[in-house]
Subunit: 403 residues, 2 copies
């Protein structure tokens, strides 16, 4: 560990990824229960879908070659030899010069290789249609296995199941899947000055906000928070609770107690728990400087700043990608409404409110002192001012990471 190096968020993530491996036991769940869970192994298609050739339009199943050369002036006349009923197999085979009435989703009769849309036919009598436009073989049909060929990989292990993923599994006939038990994440607040929310803070005291904000953020990762409450700022108290949390959970978030200048026991505790221990102490990130990254065995421990806003920002940038690796967050570009200065050598993350200005978005920095959680309530995301930048001018485009 190079104590004098300026670690960015990307540096810190890469160091943590080298040491941390968050795994939970698997279980098998039905599709509905599996929503938002992470797959515990690859899932393959058990069979061809569809298992038969199918029409994608309302119209007539035909042999494509019977329609070649057809036009409005010179339609191809076909004999309506049957109708494919929904949910039933076609009765009989399609002969040369014949057509079967068919609806969207209907099964193509043997002998048919295309469907003419009803719009390009004219009914001459109950038995005869004129086709006014030719179709190519395969047109307006889905072939057996076209949606999903049996044996193909549907979703890889490690993928977190969204609504459409569960839909894909349903379409493939997969009705139970192996998933991992949700990660459990311990949340510990340190600080002799912190009191529970239901108490009235005395002089010099503040309420415990981080148990709630970090607990909520853990839920948003699809993980289960285990709240250990408020622990006093002394080595023995803190190490006892962190040991228990390491036994009971896969990752631990400790907030408070990591800024220089207060009785700082978090680093001592993390150094005393085992290998590899503290991986970095301090980030070149604002807010978020007094962050500690550690691993004990393959479990993750983060020492987050005590200020609620800083703790939320660091959790969002550093913990979420590790706890919820399937989460894809695309930066939004927006014009900043006010000039902002930034120290070169620091990544700044500025709370902004987004709004539309015609086709474009504008990002308005939220005023107010950084410790105020109310500024997070008004914000829609974080505008990033990169390490090497000394600021942005009003009207310049910035990258905003949405919450």
């Amino acid at each position: 560990m190079d104590l004098f190096r300026a670690y960015t968020i990307a540096d810190a993530l890469s160091i943590l990824r080298d040491h941390v491996r968050l795994e939970t036991p698997g279980e098998r769940l039905g599709l509905r229960e599996a929503l938002h869970r992470t797959l515990d192994g690859d899932v393959f298609a058990p069979e061809d879908v569809p298992a038969f050739d199918r029409s994608t339009m309302d119209g007539f199943a035909v042999r494509a070659r019977d329609t070649f050369g057809a036009s409005e002036g010179l339609p191809a006349y076909l004999n309506v030899a049957g109708e494919v009923l929904m949910g039933e197999a076609p009765r009989g085979r399609l002969e040369v010069g014949h057509a079967f009435r068919i609806a969207t989703g209907g099964m193509l009769p043997e002998g048919a290789d295309a469907v003419v849309m009803v719009e390009y036919t004219e009914e001459l009598d109950a038995q005869t249609i004129g086709v006014t436009r030719p179709v190519a073989p395969g047109e307006n049909t889905i072939r057996c296995g076209d949606d999903l060929a049996g044996g193909t990989l549907l979703l890889p292990g490690g993928h977190r199941l969204r609504s459409q993923d569960v839909g894909l599994l349903a379409a493939a006939g997969v009705d139970t899947v192996p998933v991992r038990r949700p990660l459990r994440v311990g949340v510990i607040t340190t600080g002799d000055e912190v009191v529970p929310v239901e108490e009235t803070p005395g002089p010099g005291q503040v309420r415990d906000v981080n148990s709630y904000t970090l607990g909520g953020q853990v839920c948003e990762c699809g993980a289960e928070p285990v709240i250990y409450g408020i622990v006093r700022d002394d080595f023995e108290s803190l190490i006892a609770v962190v040991r228990r949390a390491l036994d009971e959970t896969e990752a631990v978030m400790i907030s408070g107690g990591s800024s220089v200048g207060r009785r700082d026991v978090t680093v001592d505790v993390l150094a005393g728990l085992g290998e590899p221990g503290v991986l970095f102490h301090g980030l070149a990130v604002r807010p978020g400087k007094p962050t500690i990254g550690a691993a004990i065995g393959e479990k993750l421990i983060l020492g987050l700043p005590g200020h609620p806003v800083s703790a939320m920002v660091v959790f969002s940038l550093l913990a979420r990608p590790l706890l919820d690796p399937g989460y894809r967050r695309f930066p939004i570009r927006a014009r900043i409404t006010r000039s902002l200065s930034s120290q070169a050598g620091k990544e700044d993350y500025v709370r902004v409110r987004l709004s539309r200005d015609g086709e474009r978005l504008v990002a308005e920095p939220i005023p107010g002192k950084s410790g105020l959680i109310a500024t997070m309530v008004r914000a829609d995301g974080l505008a990033r001012i990169p390490l090497e930048s000394q600021g942005v001018a009003a009207g310049e485009e910035v990258e905003v990471i949405p919450f």
Copy 2:
């Protein structure tokens, strides 16, 4: 209802908002349980936060005027008369020419109006410091009520609680809040050709995908899906289930059965349930044309297309804003990698995969027939081609609505 009008998503939303009012009874919950619930009334700050003036830095509490004119060459010398301990009220009052040692969060002693950062002091002996830079009154402090003045509106009724909102309530000392019971949303799949996921589809049959995808999307709105399963395409069966769903839920999503050319009973059923009934039938939206919007009393009923992709797209564009009005979704701008044609007079929503290309994002349209749910699995969002546009050229910027 003008049957020949081309309704866009914005039109449809505005019509539905005029008729639909989705309300559930309230209950009072603790903060942790209230996460992601919707507030059932405004919440105000019960008291000033902080209840005392507080330091935001490690250093010395001083009277600002005692430091005026101080410099490195000519420090202001102050007598260290005490120390403010965390969690305790300062012992005694700060006299002229005195300083109290103080840590971040510490309570300012009476008489002090600013804090000098420890970096701008030099300790001469245990009793004396030199201040090398002046501070202005209020500097490095937060005043009583600065974070939250008692009586201010914290969050308005109707707001859905995120992690930071729960944090704000904790900071304000609000430990229970009035919230609405989650909306219940009925999900009905119609179609004689639809079979449950655990069955092997016979000829002409397909598995029920929409119960899973729409059920999942309902969960993502913070609502509770009530799955009614597969209902046959006949008037009596469908009206019985829709009646039950209207009794048991606040909104009903019916998928399938709304495209022209199949035995279409959904419109007849919706027309037969009461006022105001069907509000529009058909959207100038692709995919999503055969969508029906209806209200019975103030409850919402949507007839969604049967194709799983179309049903998901319409849910995302039309149902989500109504079921989850607090959800803010900011469009992302990205360069499209392929030219796409579009019929003027239709809004097109094209599934795209996003990736980074340096500072910018590119949107790659997902190939594959529209009915395939697998295309939704590969997509990150929907690129919108507006009503009046006839298409976009490769390299042009499009607006992408992320999932």
